[in-house]
Symmetry: C2
Subunit: 337 residues, 2 copies
């Protein structure tokens, strides 16, 4: 993608869901998903130096936010369309979400996943009735495998993030968070392909126009950081971060939304991801996967919050921050601590 | 206590908190504690064959329900009383709760705990500013140690369960659960000294008079089961169940409430506690301690639910059951699985 030297133009293929689409998605999926709780922790507040509100999508159906986008896309399909079945590529959580939502509609789902994804995620997909095809952990291999299945089955593709229906669904997490805690100063979400982060930009600002949305990313998979810094979509074909949900790259569609709306991208090391994950388990008594830890890890580092340029609150109180915990799918037999 | 051959008479020392005391406790502690979420799990519903609503006191302040009773007792004290400081005996969670609530009032707390309590619980108590005294893991040793501190300091004792203020506080968990999910058919709570279970009987039936309340207990620490079966308070000086929060015995006060209100006591093995704990971690993505697992473990066994004598629902639907997860304090460095 290095040949793209100028920002992508908004064309028919680079749309973004509008507020009506996001509200429509929320109404469509609400009967099927959890309105997840927002938890707080006095000890984490003290460490961050702010009031932090954690949107717990690890406690969502299929244990990640991915069911929001997948179910919005799948419940948008006609009876005739869904009967053809669904194909997707996924590092795990989107695959589980597609398998689950397809099963809710009685349709088959074929899931292409990289062979280095955790065994626990593969088992979850198969538990929902999904049909798994393993491939090499590269974007190229994923695409080849899914193209082959599409050709063989006639099924419909639901991309993990390069799809307005999926982005509109993911936007409902940030929308809900701002409905639950209206006056947040900023929201932090992990970024991989950008579906959650671009959705959070649209969903959170739809409720509270002044809220600033930041992306959080492993330094070992920092294509979003580099793309925003350079103004040009950066590629990243293969990564090995422990945050197995954050190994994908932005698409032109999600990059366009982020360029317009995101306040910044914050990077964290592998060691910071692991220590933060354990800290959250110990203090909050919830199980988060490494990708979730990425969204709070930057705020535990000295001076990061102070240098984000957030304006002081009118009420004189400490900043109110939202953090989206994206998922909780961890193999308990292979903890990194 | 084997000399007690007849049911304890209701005397001045065997009172129980009335509904006004429970509502007063709730109003007193609500500004300080979390209104904890009630979570559900489709996969656990399928395993139990009912709709199960989990009241997550593992996500409470100090990570257990104990803060409800401790803070009710401590915020009931006058300035002059609290200035003397607090003493208590505790296997850990009550000690942490007393230390935390005492700190909220700026008072010292001395905590007597058995030396086999998990290191993580001792660290938590010290983190709240509590002063720990270790003793042998017997009721006799606990009493001797706390009596000595009482004599030396002039502080006030807050017993973990043999205290109406504490029972009224614990009752607010069941009261809240029934406020959150009104039409439960039954509620299941772990039983140790009986503070949570007797409180749940009073708090839950105060909202929904027909709800049946069951206690759940490790078979290796089954004094409540034996007491209810025989109609006579049974003693149990020492136990070694993995459910470290459930090693105490009923008092005459809690036994009197349970005799009047509890629908039954269900026992589980150590293996059932461990496998259930892991199952909840995996399926619900929350960290529960072994004592919490005890409250759902019986319902995962074949035929247990069917034989509880619960009437069919008027709406023809599956039974709606409440389960109180009592706490989440586990040493992540020493998991039993």
């Amino acid at each position: 993608m290095e040949h793209m030297s100028s920002p992508p133009a908004r064309t028919a293929s680079l749309t973004a869901p509008d507020w009506e689409a996001i509200c429509g998605a929320h109404a469509r999926i609400a009967p099927h998903i959890h309105r997840t709780p927002v938890l707080t922790s006095a000890s984490l507040d003290a460490m961050v130096g702010a009031r932090v509100f954690f949107k717990c999508e690890n406690l969502q159906k299929t244990c990640s936010f991915k069911i929001r986008g997948a179910s919005n896309a799948i419940f948008s399909l006609s009876e005739k369309e869904i009967a053809r079945g669904i194909v997707t590529q996924s590092s795990g959580n989107h695959g589980a979400a597609v398998a689950c939502a397809a099963a809710w509609r009685g349709a088959p789902a074929w899931i292409v996943m990289p062979k280095n994804a955790p065994a626990v995620k593969r088992l979850a997909i198969e538990g929902y009735g999904g049909r798994v095809t393993l491939c090499e952990p590269t974007m190229t291999a994923r695409t080849e495998a899914s193209d082959r299945i599409l050709a063989e089955t006639g099924a419909l593709m639901i991309h993990p993030y390069d799809d307005d229906r999926v982005i509109a669904g993911q936007a409902t997490a940030g929308k809900e968070l701002l409905e639950q805690v209206a006056d947040l100063d900023a929201v932090f979400a992990p970024v991989s392909g950008g579906g959650l982060l671009s959705g959070t930009c649209l969903g959170a600002t739809g409720i509270s126009p002044n809220v600033r949305v930041f992306g959080c990313e492993p330094a070992q998979a920092d294509d979003a950081y580099r793309s925003i810094q350079t103004g040009t979509l950066q590629s990243m074909d293969s990564t090995d971060t422990i945050a197995d949900g954050l190994r994908a790259s932005l698409s032109a569609r999600t990059f366009a939304i982020l360029r317009e709306h995101v306040a910044g991208i914050l990077r964290v090391t592998e060691a910071e991801i692991i220590s933060t994950m354990r800290l959250v388990w110990e203090r909050m008594k919830i199980i988060i996967e490494p990708s979730s830890a990425v969204a709070i890890a930057p705020l535990l580092k000295p001076d990061v919050l102070a240098n984000l340029g957030l304006p002081a609150r009118a009420d004189g109180g400490k900043l109110k921050l939202g953090v989206i915990f994206s998922g909780g799918n961890v193999d308990l037999s292979a903890l990194p601590f």
